[in-house]
Amino acid sequence: MPAFLAAYDFLLVSMVLAAVLALSLYLPLMAGQLSLASPGFYALGGYIAAIISTKVFPPAAGLYPVPLVLLEMAVAAVASGVLGVIVGVPALRLRGIFLALATIAFVEILRVISLNLDVTGGAIGIFGVPQPFASQIHYMSLAIPLLVLCMLFAARLERSRTGRALVALREDELAADAMGVNPTRYKVLAFTVGAMIAGVVGALSAHFINTWNSRQGTFDTGVSLMAFVLIGGSRTFVGPVVGGLVLTALPEALRGIADVGGLPGWLAQFLRDGRLIIFGVMIALGTVFFPHGLITPALLERLGRGRRHRVEAA
């Protein structure tokens, strides 16, 4: 598969990062909160990494040290977490579409700020972000553990006291409140953890795409993430992961199909130029034919029937 890896290393890593980012949106949604704030924290994390790696530890010859990348990711997590609490406490009093709108506003405000600050480089952004790896595929050594960690986190969370509290809020906030779950506390918690994940992905992404600017992490990103989660399935953490992987690959897959020989010229041309038409239509169809997303808890139950019982009985 070396040729495949060479051609699609970037795409594969993007898919993994998209899956992680989708989880950042999924976490607040676990508590029933549709927040489109993730792109804002993603942007923040990216700027933090870009600034640290180009200005604080200016690149020397050779590869950029991986421990510094990890440091940046940690800083991004902390900064996003703090900002998450600051934004989350007032914003999470809002419900439903109003929360989504407030978080869209938050992302837009961040974007305008980043256009105007010197340190973020305005529209040009920050470029020449140094590379910690010789090849793109090596980003997997950070991206995969990150995804696994986040998935493990989500999986364990779903079966813990905290996770139950979040899901209870999603199912019926009022009843959960009456059963002793503090809604504000758990909503802010989920929002903040989501923010931290988004920040970490942003930090890694700044290296991964070599540059960072105000076009990263905008409303459009939020829309994509929402599609990842809802098309993938919003009732289990596996859904957003699959949604992120599949929907990130989809436009490129259409490009790939066009390159496969043997197609009539007009069709190949349409697959290339019209791939976003197909993408849009597939998203719309996805909502109709997979109203609960591609991956549902019921599907997982069927796939893993029995195993779960044994584990739980232990």
Partner: protein, 260 residues
């Protein structure tokens, strides 16, 4: 069922609540001593559920005070009130429909457990032990209400009557001292209703509970309750033992219609 040191479990003092000019509960006062099974009846729309919402903090009163074991709980948020030991069921059944019966009950152990995000996710020994304990207690409660055979069934798939019993199990998971039941017999057939009466009597005795009960099914209330309060148009129009209340002219007028 001793009255204890004389401190009532619940004290309602001049409680008033209005929504946009409509008075739902008007200057209602009563107190419930420890261990009592206290019935609340009245026509639909009389303010019974609003009273429950006030006691559990879901609705803020316009005036008046609420005391729980002598402590002023007026204005506390619902989760704080729940943590103090007041649990409830809902008139329209508000289970977490997509979750299993077991999970529904386990959620209500929230205030009696304490493992945090990190402990739960990493699986610290203390958290694991707590999780096992939560599961064990939840299963025991399902057993108590007679649903132990289907712990993994999704709540919304249960029959109406079973959903009501599941809701009771969930409320009990909170280990409440005061239990508020809002029309627990609604949607049940006569057999189920009899079973429910037994259940309510049983849990009161076994768990040393004080119970506030809203119920439409008059025979059930008369049969079960120590005392009954009658609400009409938000006002408390009668309060006393079942036999007395049943004969109260205002009650007959308001609740049973102009039969006379």
């Amino acid at each position: 069922m001793s009255a204890g040191a004389g401190v009532d479990v619940l004290g309602v003092e001049g409680l008033t609540c209005s929504f946009g000019g409509v008075i739902a509960v008007s200057r209602v006062s009563f107190s419930v001593p420890r261990g009592e099974l206290f019935g609340l009846i009245g026509p639909n729309g009389a303010g019974k559920t609003t009273l429950f919402n006030l006691v559990t903090g879901l609705t803020a009163p316009t005036a008046g005070r609420l005391r729980y074991r002598g402590r002023d709980i007026t204005g506390l948020p619902p989760h704080r009130i729940a943590a103090l030991g007041i649990a409830r069921t809902f008139q329209n059944v508000r289970l977490f429909g997509e979750l299993s019966a077991l999970q529904n009950v386990m959620i209500a152990r929230h205030v009696r457990t304490k493992s945090g995000v990190v402990g739960g996710v990493i699986g610290l020994p203390s958290a694991r032990a707590e999780e096992r304990d939560t599961r064990r207690r939840a299963l025991a409660l399902l057993e108590l209400v007679g649903l132990a055979d289907r712990p993994d069934e999704r709540a919304r798939n249960f029959a109406y009557g079973d959903q009501r019993r599941l809701e009771i199990a969930r409320a009990l998971a909170l280990e409440p001292e005061l239990l508020l039941l809002d029309e627990p017999a609604a949607g049940m057939n006569s057999g189920e209703k009899r079973g429910l009466s037994e259940l309510i009597r049983g849990i009161r005795a076994r768990l040393d509970l004080t119970i506030l009960l809203i119920e439409h099914h008059v025979p059930l209330v008369m049969d079960l309750c120590d005392r009954i309060a009658v609400l009409n148009f938000g006002e408390l129009i009668a309060l006393g033992v079942p036999a007395a209340v049943q004969k109260h002219p205002a009650v007959i007028e308001a609740y049973l219609g102009d039969e006379a």
